[in-house]
Amino acid sequence: MASLKLEHVKKVYDKNVVAVHDFNLEIKDKEFIVFVGPSGCGKSTTLRMIAGLEDISDGTLTIGDRVVNDVEPKDRDIAMVFQNYALYPHITVYENMAFSLRLRKMSNEEVHRRVCQAAEILGITEYLARKPKNLSGGQRQRVAIGRAIVREPQVFLMDEPLSNLDAKLRNQMRAEIILLRKRIDTTFIYVTHDQTEAMTLGDRIVIMKDGYIQQVGTPQEVFETPRNLFVAGFIGSPQMNFLKAKLVKASDGYQAELYGIKVPLSEEKCAKLAKKGVGSQDVILGVRPEHTMLSFDGNANTIEGTLRVNEMMGSELHLHVDLADGTSVILRIPTLELTEAQRASLAYGSKLRFTFPEKVAQLFDPKSEESLLF
């Protein structure tokens, strides 16, 4: 139960490899923060610096109102769940969970009370007498979480806790973490490379790349208003389509032109662009696959493409479409909205037309890769 403050935190490994550049973030008390990014982006390093497992090369880290740069991990009052569980193999689940409490010289009764309580929350009471090697992956993960919650720590750190589980178990554990979070209301920092986990778990998401923070925001913010091309591409699955377009400035506003269609932009967007002083220029227009619509009525203001792959996902179709200039886009079309005839027409190599609503379009500068609407 504490707030965290990272100011200008930097990590330099020897031989001058910079893993994290100038990391600034304020984490509120009882907030669930998710660090997300591709591997090697510095998210785990940042977490390990918060845990005290890595030295902080520069900057200050404050937990509560205490600067903890040089505080040993054991004195930071944090708990951490590791990707490979890191359960102590030679002692029982009970002793695994009691380990930290025993080190704190807690009385046997108190240890027992806490361990049993945590075991009950996680549903592992019947495994308490087993050794970790006799547990399944999901059970081990629960024990690892249990070992962290018995301590009632100020900050709860989780380093890709679900990535060793199979897909089904992962979804189940994700839901359990959401429930767990409701029961033990404390500050969480969660590291993952999976944007689904980030979106579903986080109060706020920190998207990182190459040691820099790309964007910090609620899941909705980063989904709807990505700050740059990287964030736009990273959040959402399948990833956002990027189309080459021309931004044309007219007297009454802006419009985007691409593949022979004209998309007049809304007043809100125009105001933002005008405020930035953007003139006519090349832009990259981003549209999420789920925001596209097929057009069967021969409307001329639609983009034409050739269907290359048709993936049937059950409730929806993923259509991989090649445009005239060879750009590949993905369309996500709900199956229910299509008639039998329309579905039948979506054969390999067939021509199709699609469009998208203006309000979902994102505009990016091709050179700086920054969003023009931010």
């Binding site: 845990a51 005290g52 497992l53 040993e72 991990p73 054991k74 944090i78 708990a79 951490m80 590791f82 990707q83 490979n84 890191a86 102590y88 193999p89 030679h90 002692i91 029982t92 009970y94 380990f99 930290s100 080190l103 704190r104 046997n108 009764e109 240890v111 027992h112 049993c116 009471t125 019947e126 495994y127 308490l128 007498a129 087993r130 050794k131 070992r147 301590r151």
Partner: protein, 441 residues
């Protein structure tokens, strides 16, 4: 078609089997011959040790089997020593004390279990009280058996008391923690390790037995013959070296495996290069250094312990390799859980590295046990400081070597017994230790 194929394949299979049998036969024959050749000297040595030095001639005889099997040689080794009666007494006292103390602690634990939640002071009082009673019993028993004037031994007694209380208290604590009522309330607790309680009690009893013998030794040291003295010297050197060297080797390996400090690579490389020089290059220097410290001749035992332990950190390779295979996240997890580096080492790494610990102890014990080179020059000229190897060599290096030869053999057999037993008992760990560094995942 298929049937034909199987039919055609059968004779081939049979010939393959025959071939295998022939190969195995050859291998077994060769191995048997080799082991016979290898065993002959040992059998010969054992046989010689049973040939009386009083009735038959010493080394120069033209027959293999002794004409009179006798224990004369062994008797000679213990001549003038009260070894057997001393051991008998020590073990008897030890057993009685161990049984009494263990029972007391067991009952004490049971009583405490029933009053779960009682305050700490009461616990300490109960454990301490029972230990005091156990100690009083020990003193009374020893006094009765030895007929000793205890007044003059106040200092020894005080040390013994401290030792006894310390070990006893630690053991009692462990015992109580493991067998507490709380743990037994967990579903499935009994299933995991049925004999946990019994095992703990056995260890407890063993600790008390050893302790009692140590106290016995402090109160009434045995009178030693020459051979017994050498044997005790060797045992002392080997035990101390085993403990110290293991501690040093394991901590060096752990540090090199886990900590990243400046000069780590340099240390590892220079140790590798230094290790290429044979140890006895430093012999002369070491002798003069020890001489200046007064650790030669009669004081050779501590001097030798110093020599054997001095460079033991250099043998870190195997255990470092083993530690490297234990995931680092275990260390990290324990450190976040609140353990210091030392606690991580002791509570997490040591239990996981059991094979390598045993391997290291075994190696550290065996080297000084059979060493001749260092022992011969550090103790040079004073039989009080000899170890068994040097002492026995001096027997067959005298003018009367003929006569001493069978006694030499008997001495050799007695030296071989403990190390053989140790090796057979710990063979499993030895193999795990040798291969563990490379394979264990």
């Amino acid at each position: 078609m298929a049937e034909k194929n199987t039919l055609a394949a059968q004779p081939k299979l049979r010939s393959k089997k025959g071939h295998e049998r022939r190969t195995n036969g050859t291998i077994y024959t060769v191995l048997t011959i080799m082991s016979i050749i290898w065993l002959v000297p040992f059998v010969f040595l054992v046989l010689q040790s049973f040939r009386s030095y009083k009735l038959e001639k010493g080394g120069m005889v033209d027959y293999l089997l002794p004409k009179h099997f006798s224990l004369d040689n062994y008797a000679f080794l213990f001549e003038g020593s009260n070894f057997f009666s001393w051991c008998g007494k020590a073990i008897l006292v030890g057993l009685i004390v161990a049984a009494a103390a263990t029972l007391l602690i067991h009952l004490c634990g049971k009583a405490l279990d029933k009053r779960e939640g009682e305050d700490k002071g009461a616990r300490i009082l109960m454990i301490g009280g029972s230990l005091l009673v156990a100690f009083a019993a020990l003193v009374a028993l020893t006094a009765a058996l030895q007929g000793f004037a205890l007044a003059g031994k106040a200092g020894t007694l005080l040390i013994a008391l401290a030792l006894f209380m310390l070990v006893g208290f630690l053991m009692a604590k462990v015992y109580l923690k493991q067998d507490s009522k709380l743990l037994r309330s967990i579903p499935g607790y009994v299933v995991e390790d049925k004999h946990e309680g019994a095992k703990k009690l056995c260890t407890l009893a063993l600790e008390f037995l050893v302790l009692s013998i140590i106290i016995q030794h402090m109160l009434a040291p045995m009178t030693a013959s020459q051979y017994v003295r050498w044997y005790i010297n060797t045992l002392t050197i080997a035990l101390f070296t085993a403990v110290l060297q293991t501690a040093i080797v394991l901590s060096v390996s752990y540090a090199l495996s886990r900590l990243r400090f400046k000069g780590r690579k340099l240390i590892m490389n220079s140790v590798l290069v230094l290790g290429l020089f044979p140890g006895f290059l430093t012999m002369i220097t070491l002798y003069f250094l020890l001489k200046q410290l007064g650790l030669t001749q009669a004081n050779a035992v501590p001097g030798l312990i110093l020599i054997y332990c001095a460079s033991s950190g250099m043998g870190y390779y195997i255990s470092k390799g083993f530690f490297d295979t234990i995931p680092k996240s275990l260390d990290e997890s324990a450190r976040i859980d609140g353990a210091t580096r030392f606690q991580v080492f002791l509570k997490i790494i040591m239990p996981l590295a059991k094979p390598i610990v045993i391997y290291t102890v075994l190696m550290a014990f065996m080297a000084p046990w059979g060493d001749y080179v260092f022992a011969s020059y550090v103790a040079f000229g004073d039989p009080k400081g000899y170890n068994v190897a040097v002492g026995l060599y001096n027997w067959v290096n005298t003018n009367d070597f003929q006569n001493y030869f069978t006694r030499f053999c008997a001495g050799g057999v007695l030296v071989a017994v403990p190390i053989t037993a140790l090796f057979l008992a710990l063979q499993k760990y030895y193999v795990e230790g040798v291969t563990g560094g490379a394979v264990k995942g």
